[in-house]
Symmetry: C2
Subunit: 250 residues, 2 copies
């Protein structure tokens, strides 16, 4: 893609994902969010609730991408260690943030106990990310955005994150649905298209294999210049028609 598009990585923190107990959906939500802003998501890592692993992964990702988004581990219980790990990764202290204390005190009233107070600890220099669902905030420090693991809360936090991001040129995509033939029957045609137009990416995704329904291939044409995406899509449709292969825009 273009030189100037910001790049990003995601760090999913949680034993429950690696144990198979939970099917993560946050990565997909963040991926679609970033695509709409023209930010290139280059990598995601899923790791456990282990401080050394969080510190090492975060330091690797934050130095090699413009933005890092983390999910998970910012609740009130003993297994919520993300804030501690982020503070260690940045080499800063983890004091209570007065605004976070105020937000949580207002929410919990007489039930604002020590465990809940842990959620007010924000790495020095961090700014809060609003949580309109359960109030306990996430935070931003440098190029790292630390969010909740509960999908509903994570998704809501992205609203407060969006205005802080530099955006890029959005990637446009068109999908062609090819029916009745597998990838192998259209591979040469696709390779020729990819060679002729280097600014455009051509993805090929089979569907329906091994099941009783219709089988075929989805061809996804992607690029930042919408006119070139349209032209490449039209060209591919014409090539498929000329080869007698059934295809249409999906």
């Amino acid at each position: 893609m273009t030189e100037s598009s910001p790049t990003a990585a995601v760090l999913i923190i949680g034993d429950e994902v690696l144990s198979g107990r939970t099917q993560d959906t946050n990565l997909n939500t963040i991926a679609r969010f970033l695509a709409a802003l023209g930010i290139d998501l280059e990598e995601a890592r899923t790791i456990g609730d282990r401080k050394d692993q969080i510190v090492d992964s975060l330091n690797a990702l934050r130095t090699s991408h413009d933005y890092v988004f983390t999910t998970g581990g910012i609740g009130p219980t003993h297994d919520d260690i993300t804030a501690d790990a982020v503070a260690t990764a940045f080499g800063v202290a983890l004091p209570e943030h007065p605004d976070a204390v105020a937000i949580l005190a207002r929410r919990y009233g007489d039930d604002f106990n020590a465990a809940r107070r842990r959620m007010a600890r924000i790495p020095e220099g961090g700014t809060l990310i609003a949580n309109p669902v359960t109030d306990a905030p996430g935070f931003q420090i440098g190029n790292v955005f630390v969010m909740a693991g509960v999908p509903k809360i994570m998704t809501a936090m992205l609203e407060d994150v969006a205005p802080r991001l530099r955006t890029g040129a959005v990637v446009h995509a068109r999908t062609i649905r090819v029916t009745g033939v597998g990838e192998g029957a259209i591979a040469d045609l696709l390779t020729a298209a990819a060679r002729a137009e280097r600014e455009i990416s051509f993805g090929s995704y089979p569907f329906g294999h091994g099941s009783v329904g219709e089988m075929g291939t989805h061809l996804v044409v992607r690029g930042r210049d919408v006119a070139r995406v349209e032209a490449a899509t039209e060209g591919l449709l014409a090539e498929l028609a000329a080869a007698g292969i059934e295809a249409s825009l999906a």
Copy 2:
């Protein structure tokens, strides 16, 4: 967990996951598969269809875990570059494997073209992984298992992979459903339980926040010694009852 349990990492290869087009489910399938075999899944990475990124990630993961499982990028089209990248990562050639040629020739007959023949290229020293869905094989080389990205095919390939793996002691889990209170109300009780029993892990996962239905917390008690898991679960249930908190086995 115990010293002797094998460790594993997963490498999800595919632009379609990072672009948000596709919600990955393979990681969850592999996670549950490994959990049943007593193999510790320590990390997963999701990367794009870029050869340098595949090579670097694979070399990082295969030297730090007992097993690595990859998904995606082994089809017949130009964007399927996983076999090339794996060969480069291992520093070996990528010749056609005679058994793979035979399997594909039988499947495709007169339609066995050059693009489909690409799928018979297996890194030198690799052995095939059977694909009972569409025949095109995956492969194992060293401690790396290279599988398809289509979930139905990937899942079927795991059947052929399972007998090749050293297994560990299975992690047992019990889930307690706490209703009517959030994590903050039970955090102290959970911390005390975790301190008293170091061989057991206690996870805490809120549910129902911000929605109209029931809210509460799932407590997951995990460990390799089933008796200790049961004892810790019973102990936690008793503590919750003593505190007047509604809880039951999920």
